[in-house]
């Protein structure tokens, strides 16, 4: 019983913050509603207004099954065959170039900023 209550309360908080975010977006804040909701939620957790234990269950369910939520849009690719085949080169190049660029920018910057720490946990034989 308390599990259901926990879950319901967590879900209500998340949905309420999302609706608040979309409303703020509609009245002129240039950040998408979901991200505004995320920032408000993060702030509420930091301030202790919302306790982690209230929301963990609902948040974990939404995150674990996120793939289900983007199935309908992905199915929509079936109508975009023409655009995709015509732009295949541009899209593939953009994907590859940008993937390598992001990975190396953040990684190499980390190499400079973060000293090789004792907390490294990965097995690194032969280094």
């Amino acid at each position: 019983m308390s599990t259901i209550f926990d879950f319901g309360r967590g879900l209500a908080i998340v949905v309420a913050l999302y609706l608040l975010g979309t409303w703020l977006h509609r009245v002129g804040v240039p950040i998408p509603g979901g991200v505004l909701g995320l920032l408000l939620f993060y702030g509420a957790l930091l301030a202790g207004v919302v306790k982690l234990a209230w929301v963990e269950r609902a948040a974990n369910l939404l995150l674990r099954h996120m793939v289900l939520l983007f199935v309908p849009l992905t199915v929509g690719l079936m109508e975009l065959g023409k655009v995709l085949s015509r732009q295949a080169l541009a899209l593939t190049a953009s994907l590859l170039v940008s993937f390598v660029a992001v990975l190396l920018t953040t990684g190499v910057l980390g190499r400079w900023l973060l000293p090789q720490a004792a907390e490294s946990t990965e097995e690194e034989a032969g280094r």
Binding site: P32, S94, T106, L114, A117
Partner: protein, 230 residues
């Protein structure tokens, strides 16, 4: 109600999607290399083609599921907060790394597509391709992109990271756990993060934080971009 009319209800679309997703998860449990998103979409596309059902009709019910991407974005605050607590001391440096990755990612994705002649909507669809799906979809819409194309690129960026990310980072001499985690989370969001869970707890923690932070930075940068362009 005739069969055709029944197919046209939102309940049918939602039921079909949940069923396909459930079957895809079962398939993924047995054969790990089957990506759940692909396994879920293939039978739905087949069913729609077979029933001669237009996508727009299916998507009236689909929109109900898509709406929940919004609350899922909000829910990202939970891992961000939890992992942020564990990383407190290195958080400012990690934020700087993620921000730099986000800027470079948006510029190179949009820039490369534009240089190769992609129309504006296609190039804009590529801009948020490094970040987690719900945020990428919102940013793509804001920029005038096509969310479906964005999703395809987002998934591929995740698969690229999970497959080649750690090896590429090693080649570049990046070995420190927090640096590896931040790079993977920034470039390959949840799919990259999930691939780190069995390698190193520290890498996965940082990656999960970086994935949420990259999403936030990318939407802030997109907002800035739109203000400047206006």
């Amino acid at each position: 109600m005739s069969a055709a009319a029944w197919v046209r209800t939102p309940a049918f679309s939602i039921g079909l999607t949940v069923l396909a997703y459930w079957a895809a998860l079962a398939l993924h449990r047995r054969w790990r290399w089957v990506p759940p998103i692909v396994a879920a979409c293939v039978p739905i596309v087949a069913a729609l083609l077979l029933l001669r059902e237009p996508y727009a009709e299916y998507n009236r019910g689909g929109d109900v599921l898509t709406w929940w991407l919004g609350p899922a974005t909000v829910a990202l605050a939970v891992p961000m907060y939890r992992n942020g607590l564990a990383l407190r001391r290195s958080l400012p440096r990690l934020a700087l790394m993620v921000l730099a990755g986000a800027v470079v990612g948006m510029a190179t994705a949009g820039g490369t597509a534009w240089l190769l002649g992609a129309p504006r909507a296609v190039a804009m669809s590529a801009v948020p391709k490094s970040v987690t799906t719900p945020i990428a979809v919102e940013v793509s819409r804001e920029l005038g992109g096509i969310p479906q194309i964005t999703i395809a690129l987002v998934i591929l960026a995740g698969v690229l990271g999970a497959t080649f990310g750690p090896a590429l980072l090693r080649l570049a001499g990046v070995r420190e756990d927090r640096a590896v985690g931040a790079a993977m989370g920034t470039a390959s969001h949840g799919i990259g993060t999930a691939s780190l869970v069995r390698r190193s707890e520290m890498q996965a923690t940082v990656s999960s934080w970086a994935m949420a932070a990259a999403g936030v930075f990318t939407s802030l940068l997109a907002a800035l971009l739109r203000l400047v362009a206006r």
